[in-house]
Symmetry: C2
Subunit: 279 residues, 2 copies
DNA sequence: GCTCATTATGACGATTCGTCAAAAATGACG
DNA sequence: CGTCATTTTTGACGAATCGTCATAATGAGC
C-alpha cells in the first residue's frame, strides 16, 4: 500500500543507490554541492531533501545510460525509485527540469576534471592540452550526458526548468568560462602567448572551446558514414587543438614540441584510473 | 466523415502546402530528390506518394519551427495534415523516422548552399571561407533543424529509422565529406596549402568541419551566461576558422589578407537574398 | 494524546505512441 | 458498366507518459 514498505521497491532503490556510475568522478560533485548548500545552513528536513535529490539524480543518470535520452521519463524514475509521483514532482517540476539537473551534475563533473587536469606539470600550452584531454575523457565516459548538456540549451527545455536550477546552470557555465579565460591569461603572463591586434582573450577562449566541443560532439555521434571513422579517435582531439593553438602562435609550436608525449603523460600521470573504465 | 472531405482540414493543409519556409533554398532539394527517384522510374501512384511525403515534411518543418523540437509529434502532424494516422505511419515508421526525414532535408539544403558558396570568385582559402559563411547562414536561418541533425545521430533515433532513410542519410553525409575533402585537395593543387608530415587531408578536413560545427552549435544554443554573448556573432565563425586555417598554414595567412572583406563580399555577392531573412 | 502545517500518495484526465481490423478506393478484366 | 481482387486509408484501440490535485500520512509543538 505505502510504497516505502514494499520490499521489492526497496531492493531496486538500494541497487540504484549503490550504483556509482554517475559520471561524478571521485565524489567531487557531491562534495561541491553539499558544501555550497551547507554553508547557507540546512535544517534536518532540508538536508534530507538534498540527499534524496542526490539519490534521484543518481537514478536518473543510470536510466539515461541504460535507456538513452528518449527513454528517460519521470514515470520510469518514479517506478524505479522508492517514492511516488508527487514526490518526484516536488523535486523536478518537469521532465525538462530533471534533464537540467542532470546537466548541472555533468558540468560540475567536467569542471572537477578540468581542475584536476590543471595540476599537470608543464608549460601553459601543455596544461591546456591536459584540460582538453579531460574533456574528451568525459565525453567518452558519459557520451549521453555529454550530449545532454547541449540539448538542455534548447529554448523548450530552458523554459520548463525551474529558475533556481537555471541560475545554478548559468553560474556553472560562468565558472567554466572564467576557468578557460584564466588558462589564456596564464599563457599571456608567462610569455608563451601574445595577443595580436584583432584577437581578444575572449575570442581565443571561445575558439578553443568551440574546437574541443565540436570535435567531441562529432566523435560521440559518429556513424558509419562519418569522416570521424577514417581517423584515430585517440588523437583526434589532440590533432585538432594542435592546429588551432599553432594558429594562435601559442609557444612552443607543435613543430617544436611533441605533444603526443604530453598527451600520453597526461593519460598516465593524471587520469590513469579513469581511462581504465573505457577499455 | 472521410477526412479529405472536411473543408477545414483542406484549408489547413493548403496553408501548409503554400508555406515555403522549409529551409530548402531555391527548391534545390526537391529537384534533387525528384531527380534521383525519377531516374529509377516512378509509376503514377509512386509519384503521388513522393509528392505527399514532400508535403508532409514541409508541414513537419513548420511544426518544428513553431513548436520546437519537443513539440513535434506525429499526432500533431496528423491533425494538421489532411490525412489520417495510418497514412502518416505509412510514410514515417516512427517519430524518429520523421525526424530523420527532416535531417535529410536539412543536409540536402546545406549541401546546396555549399555548392553555391563554391561559386565565389577568389583563392581556395577564400572559397572555403565562403562555404563556412553558408554553413553559418543555415544555422541562423534554421537553428532548430541545424541542431536536429545532431540529435538524429543518437543511437535511439537511428535504431528507429527505416533502413532506406538511414542509407540516404549516410549517402548525403558521404557527399558532404567528399565535398569538404575536395576543397582541401584544390588548395593543395593550387599550392596555397602544403601537407605537413603528420597531417592528412582527412585530418584537416575534419578539423575544419569540427570548428565550424562547434562554433555554430554553441552560438545557436547560446544562453545569457554564455561566452558567446561577449563576442560579435557576425564574425565569430570567421575569427575561429581564421585562427584554424592559419594553423594549417593555408595561404594567404590572415595577417596578409583581410578576410573580413572576403566575408562581406560573400554576403553581398552570393547570399544577398538570403541574409535579408534574418534581419 | 491532540492539533495543525507540511509532505507524500496515487487516481485522474489529457496527450502521444504505434497497431490493426474494417472500410474505401483503385484498377484489371469481362 | 459491373465484379472482384488488391492496395490504400481510416480511426478506434491499448499502452505509456505527462502533470495535477484531492486525500492520506507524517511529524513538530503543546
Amino acid at each position: 500500500m505505502v510504497k516505502q514498505h514494499e520490499l521489492s521497491q526497496h531492493m531496486i532503490s538500494e541497487q540504484a543507490a549503490s550504483d556509482t556510475s554517475c559520471g561524478c568522478p571521485h565524489g567531487g560533485l557531491k562534495g561541491l554541492l553539499d558544501k555550497s548548500l551547507a554553508r547557507i545552513g540546512l535544517s534536518k528536513s532540508e538536508q534530507k531533501k538534498v540527499d534524496r535529490e542526490e539519490e534521484l539524480v543518481d537514478l536518473a543518470v543510470s536510466i539515461l545510460n541504460e535507456e538513452g535520452f528518449a527513454g528517460l521519463s519521470l514515470e520510469k524514475l518514479t517506478a524505479q525509485s522508492r517514492y511516488s509521483k508527487g514526490t518526484i514532482y516536488n523535486h523536478f517540476s518537469s521532465k525538462e527540469d530533471c534533464l537540467s539537473a542532470l546537466c548541472i551534475r555533468a558540468v560540475s563533473s567536467i569542471l572537477t576534471l578540468f581542475k584536476r587536469a590543471l595540476q599537470f606539470e608543464g608549460s601553459s600550452r601543455e596544461k591546456a592540452v591536459a584540460v582538453h584531454y579531460s574533456y574528451q575523457l568525459y565525453a567518452r565516459l558519459q557520451p549521453t550526458l555529454f550530449m545532454a548538456v547541449l540539448s538542455s540549451k534548447a529554448p523548450g527545455v530552458r523554459e520548463k526548468t525551474s529558475t533556481e536550477r537555471t541560475q545554478l546552470m548559468d553560474a556553472l557555465e560562468l565558472e567554466i568560462n572564467t576557468f578557460s579565460d584564466q588558462m589564456f591569461r596564464d599563457a599571456i603572463d608567462d610569455g608563451s602567448l601574445v595577443l595580436s591586434e584583432h584577437l581578444s582573450i575572449e575570442t581565443l577562449s571561445f575558439s578553443n572551446w568551440a574546437m574541443s566541443f565540436g570535435t567531441n560532439a562529432l566523435a560521440t555521434s559518429a556513424t558509419e558514414a562519418k569522416a570521424v571513422n577514417r581517423l584515430d579517435p585517440n588523437t583526434l582531439l589532440l590533432q585538432n587543438i594542435s592546429i588551432l593553438m599553432d594558429g594562435m602562435n601559442w609557444q612552443p609550436l607543435s613543430k617544436d614540441w611533441d605533444y603526443r608525449k604530453t598527451w600520453q603523460r597526461v593519460e598516465k600521470e593524471i587520469f590513469a584510473d579513469d581511462i581504465q573504465l573505457i577499455e
